[in-house]
């Protein structure tokens, strides 16, 4: 009698499992449906005529200026269209990413959601047919003129979710971000104009006993910023974009990619980074810079407000200079999570109009006034003073020359883990630049094979 218990238990477990059914649904059908949807033409949505509508919106605009802008814009939208009620569900970034898939595939899906760019979130949602292509609205409302090409491409996927960076448009973002170089004006009187000058400045700082670049890589992801900021100067921007979007024939084993690895490994060897950077946290590192220790910090524009508050006029912002003086700048950067419309929404017109409202030129002014960096062109008069002015100017230059390169970790579903671990090994000197690029290419190749 006792013997048979494990067997019976196992059998019942399998039976229980089998009862839950095969996960997921048919993918070919959903792709065709999405393509049909994308090819439609619509007229400008008339929100006032839509009757009483409740729009459920899931966003992650919960911090400081983000919260301020979304509250203002939501209120303004409802005031303009009293027939619309916005039911806002605010979540933290992590929380949103974890719950979004379940929410939009459930029966009570929200109408508008913020979907993170890239394969893991937006890609899988598109694959599952859970987001609505917005191309008809983009045409009717003139969204293409609002953004530089790359910023729209980041929100594009082929209808089967396989090809990132082209195909249907699935959302719009409100804010931009640049990963650039903050410098201490007390120590850098004249910002370097070429990568060579930048390296000279690093050597100078080292000789003076200062920390050339404050860098903390314990959290793993900051390494991407150091590497890719340099990569923008050593490789052609199209090569980087091809790789990130995993386009046909793209590869990590490119001379430019290896050069960037060589450069930052050299910086690590020469002691240009914070000592023991792999064991130092990201926040402690830039906070040291804010306290006046260190000459540069390579970081995203999200620390602008903190630096301005602590350093006042001593902090400056620049894009990583290129090999040649005066060339069009190339910089790592991106945009905030895209506002997208779910396939299950019963009010796609109102939802699209809402997204339009969040990203038009009035919204850009609101964004600037609440301390954010609008992704779209902003009225001259709304540009703030001080450190933020540097950031706004850099964003404008990048938009004009289409100089942004997207984050490397978009490339494959596992690439975040792959590239961060590889950069930690590169900077610790455990692999040489050639091994680094071939190792990363190996991981990438596995993904490319399975497609």
């Amino acid at each position: 009698m006792r013997r048979s218990i494990p067997a019976a238990l196992l059998l019942s477990l399998v039976a229980l499992g089998a009862g839950c059914g095969t996960p997921g649904g048919d993918s070919e059908e959903t792709a065709q449906k999405a393509d049909k949807e994308a090819a439609k033409t619509v007229s400008k949505p008339d929100v006032a005529a839509a009757g009483d509508v409740t729009l459920t919106v899931w966003d992650q605009e919960v911090r400081g200026g983000q919260e301020a802008q979304i509250k203002r814009l939501n209120a303004a939208f409802q005031q303009r269209y009293p027939n619309v009620t916005i039911k806002r569900v605010a979540k933290s970034f992590e929380d949103l990413n974890k719950t979004l898939k379940l929410a939009v595939s459930g029966t009570k899906a929200p109408d508008v959601v913020q979907a993170n760019q890239g394969r893991p979130v937006m890609g899988t949602l598109v694959k599952g047919g859970l987001l609505r292509p917005l191309d008809p609205y983009a045409q009717a409302l003139g969204w293409e003129d609002r953004y530089s090409k790359l910023l729209l491409d980041l929100n594009r996927f082929s209808s089967d979710g396989e090809q990132f960076g082209s195909g249907n448009l699935y959302g719009l973002s409100q804010m931009g971000e640049i990963v650039g170089v903050f410098y201490n004006k007390k120590k850098v009187s004249e910002p370097p104009r070429t990568l060579e000058e930048f390296e000279q400045s690093l050597a100078e700082a080292k000789r003076a006993g200062d920390i050339p670049i404050q860098f903390g890589n314990l959290d793993k992801w900051p390494g991407i910023h150091e590497y890719e900021t340099v990569l923008g100067q050593t490789a052609e921007k199209e090569k980087v974009r091809d790789f990130v979007f995993a386009r046909e024939g793209a590869s990590f084993e490119e001379p430019g990619f290896e050069d960037a690895a060589k450069t930052i490994q050299g910086w690590a060897d020469d002691g240009y980074f914070t000592p023991d950077f792999n064991g130092t946290g990201y926040d402690p590192a830039w906070q040291q810079f804010a306290k006046g220790k260190g000459r540069y910090v390579i970081a995203g524009t999200w620390i602008t407000a903190d630096l301005a508050e602590q350093m006042g006029d001593d902090a400056g912002f620049m894009l990583m200079p290129g090999a040649e003086e005066g060339a069009d700048p190339v910089s790592l950067g991106g945009e905030s999570l895209a506002f997208a419309v779910t396939s299950k929404s019963e009010h796609p017109d109102v939802a699209a109009a809402y997204i339009d409202f969040l990203t038009n030129s009035d919204a850009a002014t609101v964004l600037a006034e609440t301390g954010n960096l609008p992704a779209m062109p902003v009225d001259e008069s709304a540009i703030p003073q001080g450190l933020s002015a540097d950031v706004f100017e850099a964003w404008g230059t990048l938009a004009e020359s289409d100089g942004l390169i997207p984050y490397l970790d978009y490339a494959t579903p596992t690439f975040y883990d792959d590239i961060t671990a590889a950069i930690q090994e590169l900077l610790a000197g455990r692999v040489d630049p050639a091994q680094f690029v071939s190792g990363v290419q190996g991981k990438y190749g596995k993904f490319a094979e399975t497609r």
Partner: protein
């Protein structure tokens, strides 16, 4: 009762009605443990991203656990952590218990409370705290080393490929040795003093006394301490997630962290389920072995 037929079973024997009494507990257990477990097993047979149609791949996900070097390393790290989370704390606990068995210490309750304290703090708080302590330039540990003239020993505790896993392990030791100690000292107190008296009359020294009296008497307590701490070691996630995220490189990657990263970050739900189930099986096997060994009477 007396007039009943001969068919009535003798009292104390199991009867069908017993299952009715079991039902409420079994239902709850089934709904919250067995069904999810079965579902996880079902998912582990697919390659599934969490949204779109999954592909049936049979036991391939389990094959990966054995063949994928990254996963193999993660399981190896978990086994190393057992040394730090379970063996070391129990050894320290035994040492303290052995000392306490000989001498009556004043303020024992206070000592016990203080040493037990790490156990009370949430692991997340412990992790944040140790991340600060281990900070290479401003952390308490390196500052202390420099202050006493041992600056050459200051390390990048969490950033060094060879040190990171041990550094995390020592945090586990710090958290769990209090637990082991409390369990074992409590066990020591129930050993009849006459046994020690007898051992002393026979001329046993401190060491002999420990191995002849204290250790055998603590068999049960050691098993409990090892079981608990081994489980903590194997399911360790929060500490890794908050301090190193599995880095540098993959030096501190552990199975529980892989489960999280695969299920929630890289869309490999099937693989995550397989890793989780393997981890469950491993925990079950090891704790089962510990308890089997402890139950066996000494020859």
């Amino acid at each position: 009762m007396i007039g009943g037929s001969g068919l009535v079973a003798p009292p104390g024997e199991p009867r069908r009605i017993g299952y009715l009494y079991l039902a409420p507990g079994l239902l709850v257990f089934g709904a919250f443990v067995l069904v999810p477990l079965g579902h996880a097993f079902w998912l582990s047979l697919f390659e599934w991203d969490g949204v779109t149609a999954g592909t049936w791949i049979g036991l391939d996900n389990y094959g990966d656990v054995v063949s994928d070097p990254a996963l193999r390393r993660a399981f190896w790290h978990a086994l190393v952590l057992i040394g730090f989370y379970a063996l070391l704390p129990v050894a320290i606990g035994l040492l303290l218990a052995g000392l306490l068995a000989r001498a009556r210490v004043r303020g024992l309750a206070l000592f016990r409370t203080v040493l037990f304290l790490p156990q009370v703090i949430a692991m997340v708080v412990v992790a944040v705290m140790w991340r600060m302590i281990y900070d290479p330039s401003n952390g308490a540990l390196n500052e202390l080393l420099r202050a006493v003239g041992l600056g050459s020993l200051a390390q990048s505790w969490l950033g060094d490929f060879d040190l990171a896993l041990s550094s995390l392990g020592l945090v586990g030791t710090w958290v769990y040795y209090g637990l082991a100690m409390v369990l074992l000292t409590a066990g020591v107190q129930k050993i009849p003093p006459s046994l020690y008296d007898a051992a002393r009359v026979d001329g046993a020294g401190m060491v002999r006394e420990f191995f002849a009296v204290t250790l055998p008497a603590l068999r049960g307590e050691i098993a409990v301490a090892l079981t608990l701490t081994t489980i903590y070691a194997l399911r360790n996630f929060d500490l890794v997630y908050i301090t190193t995220k599995g880095g540098p490189g993959e030096a501190t990657s552990v199975p529980a962290f892989q489960v999280y990263s695969r299920a929630f970050e890289s869309g490999q739900v099937g693989s995550a389920a397989a890793v989780g189930l393997c981890l469950t099986a491993l925990i079950f096997a090891i704790t089962f072995a510990i308890n089997r060994t402890a139950e066996r009477r000494p020859a």
